[in-house]
């Protein structure tokens, strides 16, 4: 049994502590906005926040985050400036990587509320998108960053 705090709620989940957090979030808590992409922490589709910082849920275990606050895409407020900017810039295509992109971007803006283009690209480059929505992601982050100011 593992005790987890996800999106401000506490869950007692009947799993071994070595189970990847990704599967706990998806298959046990049914928070499916967090996606499986590569399983080795290099594509970013499973990005979540642990205590406010972006991390790869496929590389963390349930045990790793006990006592910490986990946030998934479902835990961001619906009127989050990034979500609004993502709609306004019509970013998603297939959409599969986008929750991970948004979680990564939220972590960026938390650390650096006014990033330059270069800082955005640098911070976001480990989140892959096969549809090539990258230019719009950059625009949306800049938009949200202006909005937040």
């Amino acid at each position: 049994m593992v005790s987890l705090s996800v999106n401000g709620k506490t869950y007692q989940v009947d799993v071994e502590p070595d189970v990847p957090l990704l599967w706990v979030i998806r298959d046990y808590l049914k928070l499916t906005g967090t996606k499986f992409g590569c399983g080795v922490g290099i594509c970013g589709t499973c990005t979540i926040h642990v205590d406010g910082k972006a991390d790869r849920s496929c590389q963390l275990t349930a045990g790793d985050v006990q006592g910490k606050n986990v946030t998934t895409i479902e835990g961001l407020p619906k009127n989050h400036p990034l979500m609004q900017a993502w709609v306004e810039k019509q970013v998603p295509q297939c959409g599969y990587c986008q929750p991970g992109q948004i979680m990564q971007a939220a972590s960026l803006l938390h650390e650096n509320p006014s990033p330059t283009d270069e800082e955005i690209k640098d911070f976001m480059s480990d989140n892959l998108c096969r549809c090539g929505t990258y230019p719009r992601i950059v625009q949306a982050i800049k938009r949200a960053s202006r909005e937040a100011r």
């Binding site: 049914k30 290099i42 619906k78 959409g95 990587c97 480059s125 090539g132 990258y134």
Partner: protein, 731 residues
């Protein structure tokens, strides 16, 4: 769990007084409209109704979409077409994925599937007609209620107004009455000049749920009592399973079944994690496979050797043999391109539940008809007992035309009598793809004394996609997908010959965004650049001279060149390259601007300017997005992608060793839409083919080095630049 209404349920609900439902039936000769209640019984096979709309008293217009949404925007574009003729208020329009039924087959293909950048082109006439019919019926319903002539009533923005009296009723208020009106014989369609929805950048209807994480992809389907399956697959083509530890796998906590499949073993467990642990515990040992010597090196030798063979004739204009002989100048080049993986962000997956009298399949598929047929064949159930629920697709690019993963899920559900979700790991996805064919082209061309291209002779060596998926379309030994873009290239060349040589390897090939165009544009457009230089001409001017009767392609070339500052001086080390290609009915030209670091071989693409003419534009923002997407995917392939084969199998495993383009590697991308009155063209694929040749031509412009293979890695560039330097030194 994704719940979708079956068509019967759909009818029942609709006919229980919920409003106006229209079907479109298509026979081989004409589109014919029928009201849904006439279809209450199973329609005869002679009618294949192909589009639906439903107008309900809550004033919603629901458009059933028979095409799969994989990012290309069909869930918005197709409803826009119908809503335009309907005179709906766009705010009242919503989409619903269609079930897999004959009623929803593509009227051109006769199957329910998505590909070839055809969704809008194939559905445009039917959806307009459906919208127009419903509009006329709503108008007639209003006229009947008000007891006024229908000619005095007009539909606009989701309401019908009686102009003289100013009376007004919404579509929602009218839908029950409209359902009783006979379908008019005459269906006036709007003039394009009167379009108010088509041609505007409507926000995509699927984006909000893709932003907040609530969109349901295949992997997000959960069925109560479901097992998760992991499949152990052969590491090399034709490898046989020698032994595996069933007991140890079965003893892994959470594992319920170990099922032997043809050439594989599946572990079914309570969780994905347990299934993967169980698969590890199998400790499977495999034989060496049918082609142990297959590697990238042996593949390259095969490709080059095959180019010496005479191929099947794909095109013959004039007498290229004589024309080459007489040419003032002859140029020859050989190009080699690798196998490519689709690498969709959502790995292959499917969830199936086979019960005694029913089979449900939840699947992100581009091929509903194929999944339905597979389910019928595997279960023995009749097709109306099979329910295919199409989820969002986490990328398609042609990969999801294949039905293998659905067959696995259905089989495992039959074996375990439980719902089963099969989810491939990234490694399985990378190593068991149906790849973009590796290929080789040898081109020889002749230029006359005035510098005009007179003869073209090309041999294309490539594995055949069609011999597996559409064998009936192979004509005299030619796979049309292997020679597309060459047999029908627009350049006006009096003497041309194209041959196709089929290469047999055990590596399965399939449709990959833009298919044969993805490599044929590279060889043709790189070679065209070589010819321009040989003729002492500017590459743009040389092309324009060969396109006198092709105004649309001239238009995109000129636009891209002008917007990119073609001909304007650049600093040393920088270059611009141009390329154009017509595919899927659309004309695209691109100019790439880049710099090359001749010390490291690194290139940086600064800018890609893209001009597109696809005829009527449904949604300009989606068109722009698809061009951006295709430029980036094409650039990814050009700069980075190559499937690595060794010991008879694919050894590329994950995004670490099959890299795709990252955000810090993208150029500035400008998209210019060239307006034209040409016929509708596709949008999803045509932006991809010109990128790679534009980049390779820009490398030549920057360095003088010709690169005739992809990907354009630093080593390849260094080698090419090095050979230029050594040539100069020798001179």
């Amino acid at each position: 769990m994704v719940g979708r209404m079956t068509r019967r349920e759909f009818f029942r609900k609709s006919l229980a007084g919920t409003g106006l439902v229209l079907a479109i039936s298509v026979n081989p000769f004409a589109l014919r409209l029928i009201k849904a209640d006439t279809l209450q019984e199973e329609p005869s096979e002679a009618f294949a109704p192909s589009a639906w709309l439903q107008i309900t008293p809550d004033n919603r217009v629901t458009v059933m979409v028979n095409k799969s949404e994989m990012g290309q925007g069909v869930y918005t574009a197709l409803p826009m077409i119908l809503a335009e003729e309907l005179e709906a208020d766009w705010e009242q329009v919503q989409f619903k994925p269609a079930p897999a039924r004959d009623a929803f087959k593509d009227p051109v293909w006769g199957s329910q599937s998505t590909g070839g950048s055809t969704s809008v082109r194939h559905m445009f006439p039917a959806l307009r007609k459906a919208g127009a019919a419903a509009r006329e019926m709503l108008v007639h319903a209003a006229a009947a209620i008000w007891q006024v002539p229908a000619e005095e009533c007009r539909a606009s923005l989701g309401s019908v107004t009686h102009r003289p009296s100013g009376q007004r009723l919404t579509f929602g208020e009218l839908c029950l009455k409209a359902a009783t009106v006979t379908i008019p014989d005459e269906l006036p369609l709007k003039e394009p000049s009167g379009f108010s929805i088509i041609g505007t950048s409507k926000a995509r209807l699927d984006i909000p749920e893709k932003v907040d994480g609530s969109a349901i992809f295949g992997t997000d389907v959960f069925v109560p009592g479901m097992l998760y399956a992991a499949i152990e697959r052969p590491p090399a083509y034709g490898a046989r399973l020698l032994l595996f530890d069933r007991k140890s796998a079965k003893g892994t906590p959470g594992v319920r079944h170990v099922v032997t499949l043809p050439g594989a073993v599946a572990v079914c467990a309570d969780t994905m994690h347990a299934a993967w642990k169980g698969r590890e515990a199998l400790d499977a040992k495999w034989g060496q496979g049918s082609h142990p010597d297959l590697s990238n090196e042996s593949l390259e030798r095969l490709l080059i050797n095959h180019a010496d063979c005479e191929g099947a004739l794909a095109r013959q204009d004039g007498n290229p043999h004589d024309a080459l002989f007489k040419a003032a100048r002859r140029v020859e080049a050989t190009y080699i391109l690798p196998y490519l993986a689709h690498a969709t962000m959502e790995p292959m997956n499917c969830t199936a539940y086979v019960q005694q009298n029913r089979c449900d399949v939840w699947v992100p598929t581009q091929n509903q008809s194929g999944v339905l047929q597979a389910a019928v064949e595997l279960t023995g159930l009749s097709s109306e007992k099979v329910h295919v629920h199409t989820t969002f697709l986490g990328g398609g690019f042609g990969r999801r035309s294949e039905t293998g993963v659905a067959e696995e899920a259905i089989t495992l559900s039959q074996e375990t009598r439980r719902p089963v979700k099969v989810l491939w790991s990234r490694e399985e996805d990378m190593q068991h793809d149906f790849y973009r064919p590796a290929n080789c082209a040898v081109i020889e061309a002749g230029i006359d004394a005035r510098g005009l291209l007179t003869a073209w002779s090309q041999r294309i060596v490539a594995p055949s996609i069609f011999s597996r998926v559409l064998p009936d379309f192979i004509r005299k030994g030619v796979d049309p997908s292997a020679v597309e873009g060459v047999v029908d290239m627009e350049y006006e060349i009096p003497h041309a010959r194209v041959e196709y040589i089929k290469l047999d390897t055990p590596v399965p090939v399939g449709f990959w965004r833009s298919v044969g165009h993805s490599y044929n544009a590279f060889t043709v457009e790189c070679f065209m650049d070589e010819l321009a230089i040989a003729a002492g001409e500017d590459p743009l001017a040389f092309r324009l001279k060969l396109l006198k009767n092709h105004p649309r392609t001239r238009g995109v070339l000129k636009t891209a060149a002008e917007k990119a500052g073609w001909g304007k001086p650049l600093p040393a080390g920088r270059g611009r390259g141009i390329a154009q290609h017509r595919s899927f009915g659309s004309h695209v030209a691109q100019v790439a601007e880049l710099s090359v670091d001749t010390e490291s071989g690194m290139i940086q693409v600064h800018k890609v300017v893209c001009a597109v003419d696809c005829g009527l534009v449904i949604n300009p923002n989606t068109l722009t997005a698809q061009m951006e997407s295709a430029v980036i995917m094409g650039l990814s392939a050009a700069l980075k992608e190559k499937v690595v084969l060794n010991h008879g199998g694919v050894i590329s495993e994950n995004y670490e060793d099959y890299e795709i383009l990252r955000m810090d590697e993208i150029p500035e991308i400008q998209v210019h839409i060239v307006k034209s009155k040409g016929p509708l063209g596709g949008v999803g694929e045509p932006g991809l083919p010109p990128v790679a040749p534009a980049v390779a031509n820009a490398i030549f412009a920057a360095t003088g080095a010709r690169i005739r293979r992809l990907p354009l890695t630093a080593e390849t560039i260094l080698e090419a630049v090095g050979s230029i330097v050594s040539q100069k030194f020798l001179q």
